[in-house]
């Protein structure tokens, strides 16, 4: 099933042309990894999928992005973001307790029943593999957690909204290898229920968790294919150069 249909997407911020004529699809229950050097437009592409780019000044879009057939620019932005969640590059807990961080999204969407909130929080923390570590300290500040725990908290916070798609924007860039492994484990298990799009600077990570991989360069989509194919027999030499570390 197709979740996102992207057609000739063009994104500009003032005079900066960040994404140029990208057309592709995102399928249900896959992990799509997006790789490319910095300034290749991959994060802009990702932030386009739930319209986080709207917050930037001088943002201009060309082409269309359809989410389940609907043009996202014509959708209610709160509804879109509820269905398409984001995990940011750095762990960004809100200045609230662990519990309130996870409960924030559901509360904003009108869930106030205590028991159901508690269930939702527990479920989300379990899905993010954090429950066992925090179940006895749910009311402590989220800032007391370690970096890796904070990032899994952010995943739980996104899951608690019960989205269909989760966008990961280099979620492991600030984490040590052990925390990275935990986050990757969580992602692999999440794909049974969610569609994941992962932007990463770590080529090996893209190879480890991806089903399909897209390679971006200078705002253009160079190639998108099964991850195995991209990493064994890419059809474009620029892709090969990048994954072999010849540039970028």
């Amino acid at each position: 099933m197709v979740i996102f249909t992207i057609d000739a997407l063009d994104v500009r911020f003032g005079s900066v042309h960040a994404v140029r004529g990208v057309s592709m699809e995102v399928f249900a229950n896959e992990i799509l990894t997006v790789i490319g050097p910095s300034n290749s437009g991959k994060t802009t592409f990702l932030r386009m999928l739930n319209r986080m780019n709207d917050l930037q000044s001088n943002f201009k879009i060309g082409g269309t992005v359809r989410f389940e057939g609907e043009n996202i620019m014509k959708m209610d932005v709160e509804v879109l973001r509820r269905k398409v969640g984001t995990v940011f590059a750095l762990p960004l807990p809100l200045p609230l307790s662990i519990f309130d961080n996870v409960a924030y999204g559901p509360r904003m969407h009108g869930l106030h029943n205590r028991n159901r909130l508690a269930e939702r929080v527990e479920e989300a923390l379990k899905s993010a593999y954090l429950w066992e570590e925090v179940k006895d300290r749910l009311h402590e500040s989220a800032f007391k957690l370690s970096g890796g725990q904070q990032q899994r908290l952010c995943i739980a916070r996104t899951l608690a909204v019960e989205p269909e798609v989760i966008l990961f924007d280099e979620p492991c860039s600030g984490l040590d290898p052990i925390s990275t492994a935990k986050v990757e484990d969580a992602m692999l298990k999440l794909k049974q229920r969610y569609t994941l799009v992962l932007v990463t600077n770590n080529v090996m990570q893209a190879a480890r968790v991806g089903d399909r991989t897209a390679f971006f360069l200078s705002g253009e989509l160079i190639e998108i294919d099964k991850t195995d194919k991209i990493f064994t027999a890419p059809s474009d030499t620029r892709t090969e150069d990048y994954i072999r570390g010849r540039f970028g």
């Binding site: 739930n50 986080m52 917050l55 709160e78 509804v79 973001r81 509820r82 969640g85 984001t86 940011f88 750095l90 960004l92 809100l94 200045p95 924030y104 999204g105 904003m108 969407h109 500040s141 800032f143 952010c154 916070r157 996104t158 909204v161």
Partner: protein, 283 residues
């Protein structure tokens, strides 16, 4: 002749240090003189009695009450408007001609001399709206005077809440207003409070804005409604220092001491709030 850079630096440091020492000295001097001359006048009777014998004896209770009323009235008027304006400016306004005009207006409002506010209050509230010389007129005049202070402090407090918090909240599907309500405002409240209290201190100490709009020369009664005149500390101090002959120095400095203590106390509260917040700050 070439200067030794090390010596130049030493001279510069000394000058900077001297400038600071001078400030400290001046403030210290003012406080010491007022305390030394005013403290002996402070008795329970002085604080709770009405002025007697043409203000040459008795206490200053009506003036204290009057000042508290005026300050409370000013804040009831200025805080909501100032806060809403600050939220609009920091969260909603796009950078266009209107926004720049509003910001320019605020800067200019802050630069208007206080006696002009007094005259303005007289024309608008006392005469035009027919509130008369009353607590209402005086409070509104003081409120307008401290409005720019509250707007500026609130805007800074709102803008100091990290942008990333807003992004996270929005990315979870919260609306802009929910984000302001649940994330931005709670984290900006200490800064807003600090600015507000500093505004209160300013309102408590000004004479000119209340001169034509509310302050009574001599009124040894407590006000019955917001349409009554009241005495106020800064004006009372002016009156007993320059308008009434033969007032005991003790009473004058006692009044000054009470006014100073009131304003410094408010500043102290602001400092404590800021300090507590800094200890609690989590990012």
């Amino acid at each position: 002749m070439t200067m030794n850079p090390y010596r130049t630096q030493r001279i510069a440091f000394s000058l900077l240090f001297l400038a600071n020492a001078l400030i400290l000295l001046l403030v210290g001097f003012v406080v010491v003189v007022i305390v030394q001359k005013g403290l002996p006048a402070i008795t329970w009777q002085f604080l709770t009695d009405v002025p007697r014998q043409g203000m040459r004896a008795g206490g200053i209770f009506p003036a204290i009450v009057g000042t508290l009323y005026l300050v409370a009235g000013a804040i009831i008027f200025a805080l909501p408007i100032g806060l809403l304006a600050a939220i609009y400016l920091s969260e909603y306004a796009k950078d266009n001609l209107l926004t720049r005009l509003i910001k320019l207006a605020i800067v200019n409002l802050a630069g208007v001399p206080s006696v002009v506010y007094g005259l303005f209050g007289l024309a608008l509230f006392v005469v035009f709206f027919k509130f008369g010389a009353s607590i209402l007129s005086g409070s509104l005049t003081l409120g307008i005077m401290i409005l720019p202070l509250i707007i500026t402090a609130s805007r800074e407090a709102l803008e100091s809440v990290p942008h990333s918090f807003r992004e996270v909240s929005l990315s979870l599907g919260a609306s802009k207003w929910q984000t302001i309500q649940h994330i931005v405002l709670p984290n900006a409240i200490p800064g807003i409070l600090t600015g507000t209290i500093l505004g209160l201190g300013r309102a408590a100490g000004e004479t000119a804005p209340i001169l034509f709009t509310v302050a009574a020369f001599y009124l040894p009664l407590l006000p019955g409604s917001i349409f009554d005149q009241v005495m106020a500390l800064p004006y009372h101090l002016y009156v007993i220092s320059t308008q009434v002959p033969n007032v005991d120095e003790k009473i004058r400095y006692g009044t000054a001491f009470v006014l100073l203590a009131l304003v410094l106390f408010m500043n102290l509260v602001a400092i404590i709030i800021r300090y507590k917040f800094r200890m609690k700050k989590k990012w």
